[in-house]
Amino acid sequence: MIYDIAGLRINIDNKCAYTTRFCQAYVSEDQVSPYDIYATVTKEEFLEEKEKSANFSDGYIENICLYRSICRQIPTLGRMLLHAAVLEYDGNGYAFLGKSGTGKSTHTGLWLKHVPSSKIVNGDKPILQYVDPQFIVYGTPWMGKEGLGCNSKAPLKALCFLEQAKENSIKKLSNAEVSARLFTQVLLPEEEENVIATLDLLDKMICNTPAYLLKCDISEEAVKTSFETLTSTAYEDRK
């Protein structure tokens, strides 16, 4: 079956029904024209993943492997996976990043509560495409365990790294600071051309996208702090 994901035609060849249901909102109306990417899972990849995720169903394991296969192929097509929760507000995308457990879903959940017109594009694993001079962030069927996200896209305006703290503050990060933090949040492919393409995309992202460090608690003040800096809008004027 061919799907339209992140502006690409992706032919997903799955054996378990899980992925067919999982991706149904992304099925392409055109099943005839050529596709950009073919994704399937070899027996070896499946068994390797099954060893790591013993408690999960075969369908789930195949599904994880399929996304990995897709994401390893997309860098040469100008795209990459980013481990982040991405919100859209007023037509722009904002990516929140941090190690697992730093509160990405808590903080984006606070935005949804306090900034009514904001929505989640993808809660965990969006795909980003570089379209000079900026990145476009796409929702994909893979959006983390909370399953928050939608089939949409938005221009990426800023990266916001999260750290838990007792007081709320936000500061701009230097390129070197962004670099160190960003590398742990992308999937590095194995194949040389795609590794080089990923590094070049990271370079574009670091040089072209403003990035901030938000130290925050779980109060509304935390939302005000990130909202005002990221959107350059007074909190009282939010929609």
Binding site: N175, A176, V178, S179, A180, F183, L188, E190, E191, E192, V195, I196, L199, D200, L202, D203, I206, C207
Partner: protein
């Protein structure tokens, strides 16, 4: 001393990084940050060279005395050897 094949060096955000590719990426995960001297020495040692040649090359490239250059090259050699990056 010669660095194994299977790494790519790229400037990302103004800094040089080294990332394994292909088979090497299965055994070594992650990336290596290089400062300017490190990037120079990495490129130099992708061809077979001795430590002495590395010291001479570093002195030729930068305004640095031989003693200091030797400390840098030996430190660099130690790190890449310990990490199994040389052939």
């Amino acid at each position: 001393m010669k660095i194994k094949k299977g790494f790519v060096v790229r400037v990302v955000g103004g800094e040089s990084v080294v990332v394994p590719v292909g088979e090497l990426s299965k055994t070594f995960h992650g990336m290596i940050n290089l400062n300017e001297t490190g990037a120079f020495l990495w490129n130099f040692f992708t061809e077979e060279h001795t430590i002495d040649e590395g010291v001479a090359a570093l002195c030729g490239e930068y305004e640095v005395d031989e003693e200091r250059a030797r400390v840098d090259v030996e430190k660099f050699a130690e790190i890449i050897t310990q990490n199994g990056f040389i052939e």
